[in-house]
Symmetry: C2
């Protein structure tokens, strides 16, 4: 394996580890547990799960793979928990979460190292010429950290 392919492999493993942890955590919870807040007055767990699902869905256009599969989940990002309507059941959220993650895994596997180093959709060609670190790989790593950030919160009751 070349060095660049090895670096991508490691990053994709890190992404998958965090997705699997979130999947195990949220999928194992009852509807009642998912409705509980992670700490008094804070987001409900189902909101965090919906938030992570919606962020993952938004990766599809951001990384140039096509259109979002579930734009109806956008209020999990655009609105805070207390004002977000209960859009989706836990069962349906699990189905959509799996669907989006499977699509991302398939698309990720098709990209070459050089394609990972290309610009993402939210940066202009001019800005990218000055700031070549604003590439697809940066989005992958940033979203992995974002997953871990909320996983730390969702796991809080267990620590």
């Amino acid at each position: 394996m070349t060095t660049d392919a090895s670096l991508i492999d490691v990053a994709l493993r890190g992404w998958k580890t965090n997705i699997d942890r979130a999947d195990k955590l949220f999928s194992s919870m009852s509807e009642k547990e998912l409705q509980e807040q992670i700490a008094p007055g804070k987001n409900r767990r189902i909101y965090l799960w919906g938030h992570l699902t919606s962020i993952n869905d938004a990766l599809i256009p951001l990384l140039g793979f096509g259109e979002r599969l579930h734009p109806e989940l956008d209020s999990f990002v655009s609105e805070p928990d207390h004002s977000a309507p209960d859009l989706i059941s836990a069962k349906e959220l699990k189905r959509v979460w799996d669907e989006i993650n499977a699509r991302l895994a398939a698309e990720f596997a098709r990209l070459s190292p050089a394609e990972w180093a290309q610009k993402h959709a939210s940066v202009s060609a001019e800005d990218f010429a000055r700031e070549p670190h604003r590439n697809r790989f940066a989005i992958l790593l940033g979203r992995t950290s974002h997953l871990a950030y909320h996983l730390g919160q969702a796991n809080l009751a267990k620590e």
Copy 2:
């Protein structure tokens, strides 16, 4: 910049972003705020800061840079908060945190992409031959996620 150097650059920026966020968060807190629990019955903020500092210190031998600077902080990893003694003041922790992070930044900047793809110190040559993803880069990404995980918890009171 070659593709592999670009991928490393992005990962180091992600590390620095998370270090800077943690630094800003913890350094701005009063001694009293640092003694507060992140949620009822959970770790104190100063414990999380000490934990992250000790984990960073342990990166020095793990990545082959030399010996730990502050092995005395190990109880922030080996012991849970409620049994860990108050080893260090906030002021001293800030000094040590900065010292360790500066050392890591200097060492990170010296590694070539090929060196990032080399094995870390906790995997044998035999295991690494079978599992080449157990390299320095995997440690960098894993510790970045670990930082983000606890940052999500430490930030909880603000969300």
